[in-house]
Amino acid sequence: MSTLDTGHIFEAKNLNYNYPGDIAALRQINFTIGAGELVALVGANGSGKSTLLKLLDGLIFPTGGELLAFGQLLSEKTLKDRTFVAEFRRSVGLVFQDPDVQLFSSTVWDEVTFGPLQLGISKDEVLSRGKEVLKLLNIAHLRERPPYLLSGGEKKKVSLASVLSLHPQVLLLDEPTTGLDPWSQGNLIDFLLQWADKGKSMVFSTQDLDIVEEIATRVIVMGTEHNILADGKPEEFLSDPDFLLRTNLVHEHSHRHRELVHRHPHLHEYQHQH
């Protein structure tokens, strides 16, 4: 990442995105993400979190407003510049929500070496990175296995490894803990925390407020109108049950404690007190 400004990672200015047929996916999005920030994108289904991650990864482009990455405009035109696109792809990695989308190669080894190879990294370095990420995620034994024969947890690990081999400065993750059992979720969270300790940046979408509490230093809350409802520190929102209820991040449920039946928002860390 030699020529790119690493101070401001992303800057969205009045960002809009419409799907064909003028179906709004994002409306008037404004934010700046700095180096080292760990940002959670939370919000109800269909609020535009996955779309925003694809925009941040330069896979789709705004239909209105501007998106800057490392101080440079992210557009179809700028990403045609081979030097810029190579530097951008080396710096930003996206882990897709569905591992079957991400894992298109024939073996796990091909998968983890795919990215570095496409970016023209030397053969020795590609081999070394491939071995490094397999070891890092404890999946060296899966090296020659075809991805479609792996379990859900293994697929997630390989997806992450396939992006980490790019040595990105910024990791984008779309619902990283979805479909994982509690043990695998815990492992993944531990790993991401260790990875972030190296001064890297992360933007992840999630509906799991537990992982927000554990990882994020900042939360952007997306609303059903595809706009940003709030942007701030996790504790500001997670301690406000009314806000969480309004934004569909928790549900109110009733349950019985012996003779007593009561209702309260379902939120563990801050509100589940009896």
């Binding site: 896979l59 792809r89 080396r90 298109f104 073996t107 970016l119 479609y148």
Partner: protein, 272 residues
Amino acid sequence: MKGEGFLTRNISSFTHTLESVISTEDLCRALGLLQGLDPRVKVATFVLFIVMVGLARSLSILAIIFVLILTLSFLSKVSLGFFLKRVLLFIPIFTAVIALPALLITPGSPLVAIAGKIIITEQGARTAGLLFLRVTDSLSFGVLLILTTPWTKILVALRWFRIPPLLVDILGMTYRYIFLLLHTANSMFLARRSRTIGSFSGGENRRWLARALTTTMAKSQHLSEEVYLAMLSRGYQGEVRVLNALSLKRRDFLWVAFALIAASILLWSNHL
């Protein structure tokens, strides 16, 4: 439900058969004769063998080649039953349509007469026999190559032979995603069955099938767009770059020598 049962059974057994035919990862990793060879050498020599089979004009030579294939299969730790099942499954598909007419309409000296009217000639029997053995041998070589070589290595070999990268990538992706789409189709049939009581008419079943096919096609289109984005995200710029970690060993040269000698003997035998 008759129609749906038929469809469901066929889709699930097709998925299962395809998986068991293609998923031979353990066999590819066995320590056998053919597994130890470089995939480029294997692809090149097997193509040579298949061409030679096409040129062979003697029934006995083709039979000897089949025995040789069975020996190779045995030396590559592929059990004979498993191998023959895979070969014999496809032979009727490829031969029946052509071999049967050849058997009945080729002029020549009569060999057998069926019901006094249908005459099988000596030349007809020979032509059908040649066709049957040629298909059997060619298919056996193909099956043996697939059983003893991981698909990924075959793709690497094809790239090395300068087959257009786009074509090789399409082959690789087809192999990768065919299971996913088959499982999706299977799940749709099961989901319908779980919500169904009673029976549907043939027309309703056909309409449902048409809708299911359309949905699967739309899903595959969405999947292909997402996969393309996932490739772009990791630096793909229109041409896949791959690691070429292959190197030829002494046994590869010995195998090539064996293949060339075998091919020469076969060509020479054609002139006898």
